[in-house]
Amino acid sequence: MSTREIFDGRLEAALLLLPTIIVSVVFLYYPTALAVRTSFFDSGFGRQDEFVGFENYTTLLTSSDYHSSILLSVLFAAIVVVGVISFSLYVTFLIHEVEYGQTAYLLSVIWPYALPPAVGALVFLFMLHPTLGVVTGPIEALGIDLNWFSNGSQAFVVVALAAIWKQIGYNVIFMIASMNTIPDALTETARLDGVSRFRRLVSVYVPIMTPTLFFLVIINTIYAFFSTFALVDLLTSGGPSGATNILIFDLYQEGFSFFNFGIASTKSVILFLVVGILMYVQFRVTDKYSYYGG
């Protein structure tokens, strides 16, 4: 029944909270509210704002271009999430299994956490450049004609690979922390029972790590939706012919290439709903599975 609430000056508490609240209201809540408002207007550069009700929404929801952008984003997120989680989980498991060199291995795979997306994009652009890239030759030697500047699916794969690469570090950081909390006794019991290494990962570790893995699924989904802008912008600019035009890039273009603020705001609001739903799902799921963590 002990308490940490040792001070009770209301004015002091208000003063301490004020800076965070002011910044939140002015730069986070208010612009969001504005976006919601603008989404009901026909608004653009040098145009008079005109109230159009839900017209922007109906336009978007019936636009086949926007549909494909949504589909593209979902597919992109799915590939990134699955790719990054499987790769990171396997690497983390191997690091967990070795007896020496753990720190060195760990550092060599978590560093991409610090990698600026723009740098990641440029390095991929250079490495896989269809005519000049270092690994273009070896890949083409395998019989693949690398021409992602004009081939949409290839462009999509390149952006996804860059996105996965950049996100590995962050995932390994959380996975290693989670794996290290698994009691040694469980590992030893599994070994005594002759459970093979791979089965131990799948049948013992993964179920225990469920809360962490769910957390990462959500974080990675949000990452794929929102933080991959620099990759798309520098690698493909949404092309070729819309093959990598995921929602966030589409929104940017709407606002800053076409200056359709009304439609762009509508797209913002839709994105907001997407994050909202993802966060809600994360909250519900971690709540439900939290007993695993003990």
Binding site: I6, F27, L28, L107, I110, L115, A118, F126, A264, V275
Partner: protein, 294 residues
């Protein structure tokens, strides 16, 4: 029955030292080998970038060209001085430092109020702050762009720092950490009549050093890697940050005015600050991450 016999056999194997791994799964050497391959995949792109940044022209079209060149100093000097990259780096550094310092100060204050003050509605305030996690830059950058221009902050340091100051993540991590400080220590302070400022300066901050460092690194990496918002709001080269500066360099390459080695030198420069900080402070950083997940 067979199962029991199998089980017993495995037990016996275990007792006499024949571990299952020796028979059915890769040995330790195999694990190291796999790790080497995976680490190579993760490190290779950046190693290529590093090597290219030391070459004269940066035309590296085959794996055979991947020997370090001798133009490192020349390339980095040219990028920093002739192509203004020093200026971009400096802008990024100022921006990130201001954001980190500002976030830390106002987040410590907010978390202190939330944990140590007995005031009404503070849970609501905490929720209000947490809710900003749902409002990432992409959701609001169009109205924010208009708002910042209305303030007359366009193209300035204010534009790329102040909107970032409120941090739900920092407040959340600090709150979790404060809640882990034993109540009896807090109560001792209360019995001694320690005032709020003394408490913050002499008790709370010294007891939160690790977390404060960890949060600072997370914030620094976040601020340093910002791309979309500076791209939108900063339109003079003199005030641009390194992430967007890279794009300017790349544009010059596409236009045929610059060699790839300079772009890669710029990329390396952009990667260094967050990477170095992350490696130096990896311990508090990893500990802080584990708090975040709770």
């Amino acid at each position: 029955m067979d199962g029991v016999i199998q089980y017993t056999k495995r037990r016996i194997d275990a007792v006499i030292g024949r571990t299952p791994e020796q028979t059915d799964q890769g040995s330790n050497a195999g694990i190291h080998l796999q790790l080497w391959v995976l680490v190579f995949l993760v490190v290779f792109p950046i190693a290529v970038a590093l090597i290219v940044s030391t070459k004269q022209q940066g035309i590296v079209t085959s794996l055979g060209d991947l020997a370090p060149g001798t133009y490192a100093l020349e390339n980095y000097r040219e990028a920093i001085v002739d192509y203004n990259f020093g200026r971009f780096m400096w802008n990024s550094l100022v921006m990130s430092t201001v954001v980190v310092a500002g976030k830390l100060v106002i987040s410590v204050c907010a978390a202190m109020a939330i944990v140590y003050y007995r005031v009404p509605y503070k849970d609501l305030v905490f929720l209000f702050i947490l809710f900003t996690l749902l409002l990432p830059v992409p959701v609001r950058f169009i109205p924010l762009y208009q708002l910042i221009n209305d303030f007359g902050w366009g193209n300035s340091l204010l534009a790329i720092t102040v909107p970032y100051l409120a941090s739900a993540t920092a407040v959340f991590i600090l709150r979790q950490h404060f809640l882990s400080i034993p109540t009896s220590i807090v109560e001792t302070a209360k019995l001694d009549g320690v005032g709020p400022i003394q408490f913050m300066v002499y008790v709370l901050i010294p007891m939160s050093k690790g977390v404060l460092v960890g949060v600072s690194i997370i914030m620094f990496v976040y601020a340093w890697n910002q791309y979309l918002w500076p791209l939108v709001i900063i339109n003079s080269e003199a005030n641009q940050v390194a992430q967007v500066g890279l794009q300017l360099l790349q544009g010059d390459v596409q236009g045929g005015q610059l060699s790839w080695s300079l772009v890669m030198a710029g990329s390396m420069l952009t990667l260094i600050p967050p990477l170095v900080l992350m490696i130096i402070f990896r311990k508090p950083l990893l500990e802080t991450f584990t708090i975040q997940q709770k």
